[in-house]
Each structure stands twice: as structure tokens, then as C-alpha cells.
């Protein structure tokens, strides 16, 4: 199976052929993959070099002229390093863009903490008007990307090497209800679905699948929670608790408890493989099952 990043490159290269309004802005990362597209569209595949403030500023300038910019590099260099540019060069100007990151929380664990961005979604969540997609499969990433390039709004697409075995029919808006149960609601975000499904095997819980986390689908959570009291677990592939406040707001009229699972805040200072990092952050199926059953049974 291809990776989400592979699919991003192939899909966007194809979209460049179809939509003259589209331009891709790169800062060296993935420039090899986009080389054929750059040869076909030299003015619309712009590689600014290793200059991430300029990467975002150029995206902002393109948007001011009516172009739809797709801006891409690793999450740590797309969101964290030039964050003030992200804040001012789109939202403050009243324009939009599609920001597409790779690298996620620990796609390259041997690369160490400099290439990990577990805080990207939390950071983007401080800004108004950004739609945030966290696909769990290349097919989902493609569907969300094709939708995102059509508009003029602000969209962040977070791609990862971690992915689920199967793709689901994501809409770019609602959470999907995968099954219904009586003893709690579990929300799996993007690439966490595979591990979460294994973790809740045989448990009497409702399972929601979220690939668009902002705006947060409050209605889906309220429906799943019902009218009595609700126990909710959110499993996110980035900083633990990133969506806890959004879920809390959704359930303001219902007594509830929320457990936010995800990547821990403490810097591990470990290299190795992604599976080792998932286990260290208790995001492997066995740890998830333990934490979910402990929380749901602990009323």
C-alpha cells in the first residue's frame, strides 16, 4: 500500500493538471516526488528552498492573487516553526490555503524530537476558522484533499505513516458511527482506529471515527452520548487531551466524564521504531484496552 504522503503527491500532481487555480509551495521536502509535476507546471510548483517563513508567506501572497495554494513540508516546519506566519499570512489577511503536513508525531522516530510534532493540532486549534483533517488511510487522505482544494477556506491536513488497514467513506465533516453500545463512547481519530478497534473488541461501547476534528462534530457526540450521562474516551494520534475541551463543550447539557488519550507531553528522548513509541505513549491496543476499561469501569 502507498503512504498518505505518496498519495498526496500523486493526487496533487493530478489536480495540478486539472485545476489551473492550484499551486503547490514546497520547502525542499517532497520536491523529488513533485519533480514531474514541476516540469509540467514550472510556475505552479514552487520550491522556495529550506525557508519555512517564506514558504508560508508565499502561500499567503498566492492566496491574495486568487490562487489556491497547497503548502507542504513536515509538520514541525509547517506549523510550529513559522506559526506566526500561519496566523497572520492567512487568517488575518482574510485568505485561505491548504496546508498539508507529513511526519506527524513520530513517523521518523530515529530522527528524534526535532522531527516530531505531537503539538501541531493543538497549536492550529488556537486559530479561528481552520478545518483540520486527520485521515487514517491514503484513500481518505485523497478524498479529503480533493474536497479541500475546491474552496478558498483554511484547511490543515495532517498526514502520517501510521495508517489503518481499510479506508472508510469520510465526508470531510461528520464523525462516522462504526458501532453502538451502552457503556460509553469511544472516539478514534484517524490512524488510531486500527488499534482502538482491537482495544474495544467485545466491549459494549459506541465507536465513532473522526477524520475531521475541527470543526468538532458536536452533534455526533451528543447523539452518541444520549440524554442520561456519558463517559467518553477520545484517542488521538497527537497530544493527549487536544479535543477534550471540544468534547466538553459538546456535552455541556449532559453530565459526563471525558478521558483524553494520545501522545504524552514529556519528551521521551528515544529513537527506534514507531511501534515502540506507540507503546511508550500507551497507544498500543493492550494499553488502550486497559485505560479504556479502567475508565469506563471506574464510575
Amino acid at each position: 500500500m502507498d503512504t498518505m504522503r505518496d498519495r498526496f503527491i500523486s493526487t496533487t500532481s493530478q489536480l495540478l493538471d486539472e485545476d489551473p487555480r492550484l499551486a503547490v509551495v514546497l520547502a525542499d521536502i517532497s520536491s523529488d516526488g513533485f519533480r514531474p509535476a514541476q516540469q509540467a507546471h514550472p510556475d505552479r510548483v514552487i520550491n522556495v528552498g529550506i525557508r519555512e517563513q517564506l514558504l508560508i508567506g508565499v502561500g499567503g501572497g498566492l492566496a491574495l492573487t486568487g490562487v489556491r495554494p497547497v503548502v507542504h513540508t513536515f509538520a514541525s516546519f509547517l506549523v510550529e516553526r513559522p506559526f506566526e506566519q500561519v496566523k497572520l499570512d492567512f487568517g488575518h489577511q482574510g485568505t485561505g490555503a491548504v496546508l498539508v503536513s507529513a511526519g506527524a508525531s513520530y513517523d521518523w522516530p530515529a530522527g528524534g524530537f526535532t522531527h516530531m510534532a505531537p503539538g501541531d493540532v493543538a497549536l492550529m486549534d488556537t486559530l479561528d476558522g481552520w478545518t483540520i483533517h486527520v485521515p487514517g488511510h491514503p484513500d481518505e487522505a485523497e478524498a479529503l484533499l480533493r474536497e479541500a482544494v475546491k474552496g478558498d477556506d483554511r484547511v490543515y491536513v495532517r498526514l502520517s505513516l501510521q495508517q489503518n488497514d481499510r479506508a472508510l467513506p469520510v465526508t470531510g465533516e461528520e464523525f462516522l458511527t462504526l458501532r453502538e453500545g451502552r457503556s460509553g463512547v469511544v472516539i478514534a481519530v484517524g490512524p488510531m482506529l486500527g488499534a482502538v478497534e482491537e482495544a474495544v473488541e467485545g466491549l459494549d461501547v459506541t465507536l465513532l471515527y473522526a477524520t475531521t476534528v475541527r470543526p468538532f462534530d458536536s452533534a455526533a457526540l451528543r447523539r452518541a452520548a444520549g440524554h442520561a450521562s456519558a463517559d467518553v474516551v477520545i484517542v488521538e494520534p497527537y497530544l493527549a487531551g487536544t479535543s477534550t475541551a471540544a468534547a466538553n463543550d459538546a456535552l455541556r447539557d449532559v453530565p459526563h466524564r471525558i478521558l483524553g488519550l494520545g501522545v504524552g507531553r514529556a519528551e521521551l528522548r528515544r529513537y527506534g521504531q514507531m511501534t515502540e513509541h506507540l507503546t511508550a505513549h500507551r497507544l498500543d491496543p493492550a494499553s488502550l484496552r486497559q485505560d479504556i476499561t479502567g475508565f469506563l469501569g471506574g464510575r
Partner: protein, 247 residues
């Protein structure tokens, strides 16, 4: 479509001239006279809007217009005065400068100010935005539209400018023009000169007296085939007022 208008008409439709700018600024400041720091951009802006930029209130949304991006958003009174003099908004707005209900803040907001191409205030955003604007116009085949961005010599301290300068030269962005207002306010100065930073990156660059309208016009209209162009406009050194004011 107003393309023809954008390409043939400079200045605006009002009969206000350079001599009106002091009065317009006093509507914002209450002061009859303005020191050099408040007016460091005034001559450069006037010559640009009056004789060079192909944009008017009528063509402010024309995709083929010239763009002027005020990157150095601090001290925008001269900018607002020029926009009002050129008819982009009524001069009555100037009296509300900085007020809660006024569109005219101490840093401009493009969403609020008619004629303002960008919102600025945080230094170092305009030049990268201008590079993107020039690239966006180029990829749409809008070869006649020019992009101007005004930066301050102290603003050049921000590294984002140097990312933009280093990219625009090799990219051959002929439509791009940087106007640097140099009032010696950079804390550590620019040994070797500001123009040399641009020239080293492959730009055309010229340094002129920022109060001399004919010299400014000549510098603005120099040919620079295949290269972006920088005009460094020298004005009186800013009086030493300690660290920059936040407001």
C-alpha cells in the same frame, strides 16, 4: 472589466496634492507639524501613488492592478493620508484614527481599510507576501501587474526578509519591487549598505535621497530586466528614542 483603466490611469480622481498631506495627517495626530519619524515614508509613498502605481479607487479590486504592500505597518499616518488624498476613502475617516469604531488602526488591516493590500504590523511579513503575490500574478499570466512592498531598514533585521530576498533574485521576479525606507533605525546598522544585500542576491538596487521626488521617480522607473528591483530611500536618521514603542 476595468483592465484598461488599471493599465492607463495613475493616481486617483481627487485634486488633492502633496501639499495636502500635512493637513490630512494632522486630522489623525492633532499636530500641525510632524517630525521626520512620522513622515519618513511620506515623499516615497506620494511619488509612488501619484506617478507610478497603476491603481485607483475604481480599480482597487482589478486583478490586473499594481499592488502596494505596506510591510512596515508602524506609523501608518502617511500611508492613510496618501490613500485619503487619492480617494480610496473619505478623509473624514482620518479623525477616528486608532478608535474602536475606526477602520484605521495604528497598524493597517486590509479587511478594514479600502486600498490596503495587506494587514501588517508584525515586521517581516510583507516581503514574503509580496514574493508570493508576484509569483501568483506570474503564474496567471498577469505580466503587466507590478508588486511594490515598503519595508523599513530596522524591519530588515527580521530574517524572513532575507529568505524572501534570497529567493526572489534567482527566481527572476521582475515584477517585484522593494522600497526600503532607511532612517538609520536598525540597532546594529547595515555595514556595507542595504543595497548590497539585494545586489548579492541578484536584484537590481539603487540608493536615493528619500525626499527628492525626481530622484525617487527615476529610481522607481529604472529598467531592471529579468530581476527584481530595490530602491533604498535615505531619509533623516530617526532620533534615538530608546527601544521601539509597542503601540
Amino acid at each position: 472589466m476595468t483592465q484598461t483603466t488599471a493599465n492607463t490611469r495613475r493616481g486617483g480622481g481627487t485634486d488633492r496634492g502633496f501639499d495636502d498631506l500635512g493637513r490630512l495627517m494632522s486630522l489623525m495626530t492633532g499636530a500641525e507639524k510632524h517630525g521626520p519619524a512620522a513622515t519618513s515614508t511620506l515623499d516615497a509613498l506620494w511619488v509612488l501613488y501619484d506617478r507610478v502605481l497603476r491603481v485607483t479607487p475604481e480599480t482597487a479590486d482589478d486583478p490586473d492592478r499594481d499592488r502596494f504592500l505596506l510591510s512596515k505597518g508602524h506609523g501608518p499616518m502617511a500611508y492613510y493620508a496618501v490613500l485619503a488624498a487619492k480617494g480610496f476613502f473619505p478623509e473624514e475617516l482620518l479623525t477616528g484614527f486608532g478608535g474602536y469604531d475606526s477602520p484605521l488602526g495604528h497598524h493597517p488591516d486590509r479587511v478594514l481599510v479600502p486600498g490596503a493590500e495587506i494587514g501588517s504590523g508584525s515586521l517581516g511579513h510583507g516581503l514574503p507576501l509580496a514574493v508570493g503575490t508576484a509569483l501568483g500574478l506570474r503564474l496567471q499570466g498577469r505580466a503587466d501587474s507590478r508588486v511594490w512592498v515598503l519595508v523599513g531598514d530596522a524591519e530588515l533585521d527580521e530574517g524572513s526578509n532575507h529568505e524572501a530576498i534570497a529567493h526572489a533574485g534567482p527566481a527572476g521576479l521582475e515584477a517585484l519591487h522593494a522600497l526600503v525606507i532607511d532612517n538609520d533605525s536598525a540597532t546594529h546598522g547595515w555595514p556595507g549598505g542595504i543595497a548590497s544585500r539585494f545586489e548579492a542576491a541578484g536584484w537590481s538596487a539603487v540608493t536615493v535621497d528619500g525626499r527628492d521626488h525626481e530622484a525617487l521617480h527615476a529610481a522607481y522607473t529604472m529598467a531592471h530586466p529579468g530581476r527584481p528591483h530595490a530602491v533604498v530611500a535615505r531619509v533623516e536618521p530617526k532620533p534615538d528614542e530608546g527601544e521601539p514603542k509597542v503601540s
